[in-house]
């Protein structure tokens, strides 16, 4: 067994070839006990992993404290908490509150803010979700050497449990309804597309959890999810194109803000909330479906 120094030298000389061992390991057909066997020379690996553990912990704690100190010094220089004369209470915030309802039609100024004044950010944000959804799909759907590993998911069939089934049957519509309520009232009360979509997704997730993945995949196929995302994002981008284009070219816009406080008001905010809600709901649901499956 080589000692530690020796190992380091051998390693630097490129004589210790972990990767070849690992690659060999992967190309073998998966045997029953394969994951349990050591992949590399265990004593060497143990030393390499444990090496500098103490220094590592010290470094972590020290840098944590240093960073905290640094940031706290800045906080000591910030304006006092809750003061109404802070620099953030300026004409920007004032217009959002005082003119917001008049200009966007939304009673909830936060909704008006994110979907009308700063709509470009929110467009970007929906596309962050979309990007993550694509990336996760790419990661989890990677074809080729797919190895099916059975998980313990089949041990408990929640559908057979009368209590769970009955309660879920009652609860899922209520959750869905609550999600839709939050979604549609985004411009009137707290909530909006993001929270409403997440709540709707949670109802779908409960359904998939209890009724099983196959039935859920049959009820809401992956293709439908894709098409909903396509339509919602397409609508979002197109409608915002219209409003950005008219806004920046100083053209009149045909969208009226309606009477503030009504459910059908606030111009584009309600449909945008709905499309954001669908995007969020579909993204979260497909995250769940990708994460629950046992194959990689």
């Amino acid at each position: 067994m080589p000692n530690e120094k020796n190992l380091l030298r051998r390693w630097l000389n490129g004589q210790v070839d972990w990767s070849a061992m690992l690659e060999q390991q992967q190309t073998e057909p998966p045997k029953a006990a394969a994951p349990y066997e050591p992949h590399w020379d265990a004593a060497d690996a143990r030393r390499a992993v444990r090496r500098g553990q103490w220094a590592y912990t010290t470094l972590a704690v020290a840098s944590c404290l240093l960073l905290a100190l640094f940031l706290l010094l800045t906080v000591a220089n910030l304006p006092p908490y809750g003061s109404d004369s802070a620099p953030t209470v300026n004409e920007v915030a004032q217009r959002y509150v005082e003119k917001g309802t008049e200009e966007t039609g939304a009673v909830n100024t936060v909704a008006g803010l994110i979907l009308d004044y700063r709509a470009f950010d929110t467009l970007g944000e929906s596309f962050v979700l979309f990007t993550a959804m694509c990336a996760v799909t790419m990661l989890m759907n990677a074809p080729g050497r797919r190895r099916v590993r059975k998980l313990d998911q089949d041990i408990v069939d929640y559908y057979q449990d009368p209590i769970i089934r009955t309660v879920c049957k009652m609860v899922i519509p209520i959750i869905l309804l609550f999600g839709i309520y939050i979604l549609l009232n985004g411009h009137l009360s707290p909530g909006g597309g993001f929270s409403g979509g997440a709540i709707m997704a949670s109802a779908l997730i409960i359904y998939a959890l209890v009724w099983g993945g196959e039935r859920a995949a049959k009820a809401i196929p992956a293709k439908t999810v894709r098409i909903i995302v396509l339509c919602a994002l397409g609508f979002y981008a197109c409608s915002k194109t219209y409003s950005f284009f008219t806004g920046s070219n100083h053209l009149p816009s045909i969208i009226s803000t309606g009477t503030p406080g009504r459910i059908l008001s606030a111009g584009l905010i309600l449909p945008l909330n709905v499309s954001v809600g669908f995007v969020v709901c579909c993204t979260m649901y497909s995250f769940y479906m990708y994460f629950r499956r046992g194959d990689v």
């Binding site: 349990y36 909530g191 769940y288």
Partner: protein
């Protein structure tokens, strides 16, 4: 005054939860403490007069993120016993798997 004390308790709770997550030995513990963290966070949003954020945090942070973390744990078969730790130790110790573990592995495959 009472509200300030309540707020202080919540904030201390946040710090304690964050520190506990950092110090937790097993991923399972860390995930559960993180859930508690998110729930406290959503109450803090209420205290900060931001109900939008409270709803979103409760649905997204405490709900979806924690669910994804749990699903990851299940995908890695780490729910019941902390297998990552055990497997890792095993690899390091180069201990031949016992008959019991072999059986378990067969089962897992």
């Amino acid at each position: 005054m009472i509200m300030t004390i309540f707020r202080l308790i919540l904030l201390v709770g946040l710090i304690v939860c964050a520190a506990a997550t950092a110090l937790a030995k097993k991923p399972m513990q860390a995930v559960i403490i993180y859930m508690a963290f998110s729930v406290i966070m959503s109450v803090v949003w209420i205290m900060l007069e931001s109900p939008d954020l409270a709803i979103t945090e409760a649905a997204v942070g405490a709900g979806i993120t924690s669910l994804l973390l749990f699903l990851t744990l299940r995908r890695l078969n780490l729910i019941d016993q902390d297998e990552a730790h055990r497997r890792h130790e095993e690899i390091l110790k180069k201990k031949a798997p016992t008959a019991e573990q072999k059986e378990e592995a067969d089962h897992a495959q």
